[in-house]
Structures are given as C-alpha cells and as structure tokens.
Subunit: 475 residues, 2 copies
C-alpha cells in the first residue's frame, strides 16, 4: 500500500485574484468541478493506495477537511504546520508520522495544486516505480518537455539505461534555466521537467535527511512528539517547528542524495504556476483562447478570459496575448508575458490596504461560509450558508443588532435562554448584546440573509461562549 502525502499548505499569489491568502489555489475549482486538492486526492486513491496524509496550515484545516469529506475520503492524518517552512520540514514530518504507524511505509509525496490530465497514466507510473522505491531508491517523477520552459527545474537523466516504463538513473538536478539552456534541454531527449513528486519509503527518506539535512531531525521530531490533537487535526508544536530551517526538499536532500532515480511520465501535467500556465492547460480551440465561466471572446488570440462568477459577464474584444480574470470584487488584466509578475498586483493592493489583496469574497468557516452582499454606513448584509448538522458558536456582539431571514432550509436559533426553529420565509431579531447561536439541524444546507445594523460592524466584535470547533480568538 502506498500512502499519499498531500502538500496543501501553500498560499501563492501568482493566480490572484482567484488564489488569495485566505483561500489559495489548491482549494479552488481552477479546472473542472473539483478543486485541485480534491483532484489530487482522488488521483491517489483506489487500489494500492492507503488513506492520505495531508499537510496544511491551521487556517485551511476546515477547508481541507470539508473538501476531503465531500469526496468521501477519510484522511489518515491532517497535520497542521504552525508556520511556513517550505517542503523539507513538511516532508520529514510526514515521514516520521508514517513511520510511527508503519515503519517501512511507502510514501508518494505530491503537491496538491498541480494538474494531471491523465490520472491513470500517472498511477501506472507510480506503480512501475514501486520496486525501485522498495529497493531503497528515492524516485522522482519527471515530465518530457514539449517546449523550452524557463519556469521549471529540470532533471538530467544518466546515460545508458533506456528501458521504457521503468525508472532511470538521474545525473543531476538543474535549477530553472535561462532560455538557451531551456531550448537545448527541450531538444536533448535526456531532460525532464521536475514535477516535485516523489516516491520513497519512510526509512529511505529519513536516512537521506540524516545524511544531508541532519539539523532538521531534532526540531521536526520534537514538533511531532509534542504535537497536539485538536478535533481531527494534528497541530505540530509551534516552538519546535520554529527552529526548523525554511528550506525546500530539492535543496535540502534531492540535490545531494546519490540514491535517486527518475521516473518519466506523460499525461498532461501542468503546475498551473501562473495564468499563462492555466491558459495553456485548457484544450486549444486553434486560436489559443481559453474561456471559463460567462466569458465571450470576439476576435481574440492567445488570451485567457475567465469570469469566476456565474452572474459576471466578461467580454474580450480584439485581444492578443492578454489575461483577464474577473471576480465581483477584483479584476486582473495582464499581458501574458507578465504572468509571472502577478504578485506585484497583490503587493500594490496590499500597500493600499485593499482587502482584495488577501481576502477571498467567500469567507469559509468550519460550519459553512458567508459572503458580504452590501456594506453601508451603518449596515451590512450577508448571505450565510450553514452545512447540515453544523452550528455557529454561541456568541454576542457589543455594537450590532442582527436580523436573520431564513431563505432555504431550517435554522435552530437560540436567543438568550430560548431555542426555536425558524423555517423558510421566517425571520428573527437578535438585539445588541443578546447571546445567540444558529444551528442547522436539517439534512440540507441552510441559507439565511443577515442584515446587521450598528455603529461598528467588524468581524472582531464577537464574544464567544461556546464553540464546537474549538477556535481561538481571531479565528
């Protein structure tokens, strides 16, 4: 059995405005009707695969859990990294965790924000690589290049062995090249793109860390040993974790280890690393135009037009090499040659304190999600969706009153000592200061419209008395 280890802690900004710190790329439906994280979990499930281990940030724990639950996947563990430390500490933590349950566990480590069109071809490559991993090799997966890409690292294959469908000797890791080197490698037949996907046993990778990055073992072991169970999540110890070096697995281990082999595979891989990568990943119409959502292209070429909202019409007219991504609160229009620089848009907005730099319009919570519909001088309107069986915390507010109108499903509402059911087309009023709670006792999502009135409407005007999700202040 292979244990998938899904790396889901990133919060990149190159796919802004769709990817934001509060709801990054791997959880978005960037391609198809499932998130990239869900697609990755699904790709690594079925015969031969054990339950996955997920590594992510505390801020994303309920999103990850909910997305797995929607797939019917029950993870072996959801390990929470107290802070970003890049891939090496995360992979070591996963290896130590796996070794606890099964000393010679076979681990398939994969980013959860990549696209692989042909899942079966990928699984076949994984299965073909198992003997090498069992024999103590670190197997790294590589993609035969079809263009002179300067945005990826490369794997240089050794000479000699050419057996099809089996791992090959690896001569060197090559960092992101310049255009000339990229052109040469794209033609050589001996270079693959480094997909950042690995297969190895827990003892093999532990030995590699001991040999090449020994300083990580102490802090990461301690972070795991002192980890705290929080509902279904495993929170690594923040103090120990903070002592681990912030370093990538390539730099810490892969570029130094001698027991690596490369497993080539093809099947439509993309890291969707920027919007130009997303454009290229969409099956072509001949003119290079990729559309998504209610988007219309009139005489456009080599352009990406994405509307991320069913009620937002995006029209491109006479565009060439333009990326346009529209959301109701933020729109990006960029020349496609600048796709790698989209984080500059985020920096510019952050400098102006614009919430759009970091906050996704839908605010995902353990009980469901909400979004702001309107904000006025002394009022705010929200749409709130509560999952079946979920409950908001018992809370009160100092500065606002709330009107709730249930428009779908049934709410169980507590105000002070009284609890009652509120059904579709009924409303309740929560006075300033009243202790209240909203639950969804039903089997379907409950939707309500909340109208807040008051002199201060910030999310931080909340006093929590009970919370089934054990959230801390500020969460």
């Amino acid at each position: 059995m292979i244990t998938p280890v899904l790396l889901a802690g990133g919060s990149g900004t190159r796919l802004w405005p769709l990817s934001r710190r509060s709801y990054p790329k791997q959880f978005s439906e960037l391609a198809g009707t499932r998130s990239l994280f869900q697609a990755t979990a699904e790709r690594l499930s079925g015969e031969g695969f054990a339950a996955p281990v997920v590594l992510t940030q505390a801020a994303f724990r309920f999103i990850a859990a909910e997305q797995l639950s929607a797939l019917g996947v029950d993870p072996a563990a959801v390990i929470l990294e107290p802070g970003p430390r890049n891939t090496a500490p995360a992979i070591l933590a996963a290896a130590l965790w796996c070794a606890q349950t099964s000393p010679d566990a076979l681990m398939l480590v994969a980013p959860s924000d990549h696209l692989i069109a042909d899942a079966q071809a990928f699984r076949d490559a994984v299965v073909a690589a198992v003997p090498a991993a069992r024999a103590g090799k670190i197997v790294t997966f590589g993609i035969a290049p079809d263009r002179a890409e300067t945005g990826y690292g490369y794997l240089e294959l050794g000479e000699g062995d050419t057996a099809d469908g089996a791992p090959r000797a690896l001569k060197a890791f090559i960092e992101k090249p310049g255009p000339e080197a990229a052109a040469r490698m794209a033609q050589s037949g001996r270079h693959l793109w480094n997909a950042g996907i690995f297969l190895f046993t827990a003892p093999t990778i532990r030995a590699a860390f001991e040999a090449h990055a020994g300083a990580l073992l102490d802090p990461v072991s301690a972070a795991l040993a002192k980890a705290r169970q929080d509902l279904g999540f495993l929170r690594l110890d923040p103090e120990a974790w903070s002592r681990a070096e912030d370093v990538s697995i390539d730099y810490a281990v892969m570029e130094k280890a001698r027991n690596l082999v490369a497993m080539p595979f093809s099947g439509g891989w993309s890291d969707l690393g920027d919007w130009e990568g997303v454009r290229r990943s969409v099956p072509g119409t001949g003119d290079g135009v990729a559309l998504s959502g209610p988007a219309t292209a009139i005489e456009c070429r080599d352009s990406l037009l994405r509307s991320e909202d069913p009620r937002l019409e995006l029209v491109g007219l006479g565009l060439e090499g333009i990326i346009a991504v529209a959301m109701p609160d933020a729109v990006l229009v960029a020349d496609k040659s600048r796709a790698q620089e989209v984080r500059r848009a985020v920096s510019a907005l952050r400098a102006r304190n614009a919430a759009q730099a970091t906050d996704f319009p839908r605010d995902h919570r353990p009980w469901g999600w909400f979004e702001r519909l309107a904000l006025g001088e002394r009022f705010q309107v929200k749409r709130i969706v509560v999952k079946p069986g979920a409950a908001l915390s018992l809370q009160s507010h100092h500065h606002r009153a709330e009107h709730w109108i249930v428009v779908q499903g049934t709410a169980q509402v507590t105000i002070g000592e009284a609890t009652r059911l509120v059904t579709e087309n009924e409303s309740v009023y929560i006075p300033i200061g009243a202790r209240h709670r909203m639950e969804n006792p039903g089997k379907l999502p409950m939707v309500l419209i909340e109208v807040q009135t008051g002199g201060y409407l910030g999310e931080d005007d909340i006093t929590r008395y009970e919370d089934v999700y054990l959230r801390e202040a500020g969460e």
Copy 2:
C-alpha cells in the same frame, strides 16, 4: 435670453458596460462627479440663459428630471419622444415648442453627452455668435482639430474672413473622412470638427425646415399639437410622431441650407464617442494611462483602466493600448483600436439573452432606485433607496412574500388597512397577496433591505392599485 435645447434621448452602446439601454451615457458620471447631462445643463445656465428645454425618451424622464432637480434647474419643458427619430424631428419639435412661448426665441441646441472642459470659453463663443443668429444665420460650432480624427464630421470654412472670435463663412459639411483626408484637414487650418451644436432663432430654423425638409413639418407639428401632459412631462403624440422621417439634422437641413456660418471654439471638447475618446479626454500622465475608480496600473501605456464601483479593484499589468472597464456584473477588455466596435460586445450578450446587454445594475425609478444584491433558487435580496417625500405604488404580489429591514431613515409602511412608521433597525413582513405601499416621509433618503421569498420573483409579478407617478403597465 438663449433657450438651451438639450438632446438627451440617445441610448448608445459604444460605452458599454457603463452605458446601457436602461441608463445611457449622458446620465452617467463619466467624467467628474456630475453626469454629462448635468454638466451640459450647468454649462448652459446662468446669465443670458433661460430655463432649458429637454428632449428625451419616456424611459429616461424620471432620471432626467431627478438629475436637473439635483442641480436646482427647473426645465421649461421635458419633451418625450415616443420613439427614436434622430435629431431632425427632435430639433423641429423643440423649435415649434419654443415659438409657442416666444416667437423669435433664440435656441442653443446641444447634445447632452459631450464633454467641454472649459465651459466659460464655450459660453463666450455662444455669446459672440448671438448677433449672427439674430441676423438670421444658422450658427454651427466647430473645434479646431488637433489630430487626424476619422470619427467626426468636418466643417470646411470659406476663404476670406478671418476675424478672430466671430463666426466665419461655411463652405461645406464633410462627412466622416478616411485617414488621408482627415490628415489633410487636420493640417489645413480651414477645417473644424463638427460638434453638432447649433445656435439659431426659432423662425430661422423653421424656415430652413420648410425649405429643405418640409415633409417633417406636418407630423412634428401634429405630434406637438396632440401632445399630452403627464405630470411635468410633455408626451408627443405617438401616431403623428411615427410618421416623421428618421433623419439627422445635418442630412435634413445643415448640408442644404445656405445661411450657415461656423463659430470656432477651443476649450477641450470631446464627444466621448467611444472608450478611446474617454481615455484621451483624461489629462495625461505622460504614459497615456487614464485611471478611474479603484484602478491600479503597473507598467502600462496608452491604456484606460476604469472601475465603476468603489468596492471593485481593477489591476492592469504590463498593458499597452488596452481598454478595461469593470463593473460588478460586467467587464469589458478591448484593444483600443477596437473601441468603435464595442457594440459587438453588446450584440454578443444580447444573442445570449444576458441582461447585462441592456440593463444597468441600478434600476432607476421615479421614487429612487434599487439593485439586486443576491438571487437564489427561491429568494432574492435587494437594496432599495427611496428619495425624501417619494412613494412606491400601492401594490401586491401573487408569488412572493417580502421582508423589509430599514437600515437608514424612516419608512411609512402600509399593509392592508394599517399604516405605521418603521425606523432604522426595524423590520416588517409583507405576506403573499397583501396590498402594501412604502413611502419615505422624511427629509433624507431612506434605505431598506428587501428579502423576497417565493417560487416566482420576476418584476412583472406586480398588481398596482395607485401610483403617484402614473406609470403604465410594464414601466
């Protein structure tokens, strides 16, 4: 005294998505904090100017009236054209109306959707042209070209008279030229752009119509004679009006009349005929980038970036010659060389029955306006703003119940036989079928959030019992 005649009936689509059939360009705050219509009315007010005569469509009557009222301008008449017939019938109707009140009225006819940066320079030119108009001339205003524009018609001046600041002889009207002719005329010193602004007396223009477009006199006279007063508006007779030819004033009269003179003026005129014109009208920053609203340009050139909503961030990155206009329900991204083709975007949306082709997100009504905040399976949320002293019709709905929460000001609400005041942070419920009315008895705008629930939520589920605005079915 000069009577301004403001032509405000157009509903062009070249400035989509800001300009839409339900709320066209002249009423938008395209430049500055006043609409172009308001700026035009203001430019033609003060010493020497009488109250304006406005020509517009019935659909825009309350918008026009409200925008004038906000300026403190009380129009002499708001004449409603029953259907679009281009400028000639509209100007003739205005001339006949003016002659009724003052037989030798001096009329300044102007489109209401142009931009003139220097209003005083324009008024000076008008005053300087009065003697010629009094002497029986048709004075047409022209702008010295500063580029080889192919989007405007030209006025060719006669040779000889060169007195500065006085009208000059006109040799010919020239239709929109090709690039070569435009380049020649831009250099000649004897050509002006035709601004479509005219000064003449009512008898002069009537005589010109009799001489060159006599067939218009009978239907337009009849449309005015049988016009119907409707609150403060004058509705021309639809049957008579439908018999008037659809023809421009240039074609019907100006290209044929021999008593024309041209009055040159400069002062920053633009017809804002397309987004490229809008871009050019914004004072340059050197890089040709024009920004409006929360828009950010990063290394862009010769581009227009407009966000039409204070909560919608628009970011341009590395753009050259791109027009991007963002609204919460529609976004246009176009190459600036295609600015004249924006109507194709509207056609494409209309073909898909997208409301954004024609409907502005804020729906303006005589009592104020509303906008949809959310639309669900069986519910809808609206923000409704009612002007001080205004009242919605007494009405009922067959298929929906409504919850109203007042968030600003005070509403007087009638449900069945009962009337009560509802103040900020109070709510009321309107059951299906109940007769109800909402009024704003206060001195400030009243804002309420309406949550509708029901199986059918169309605007046409309304039975009106009383309406102070005398609206007809479907209005």
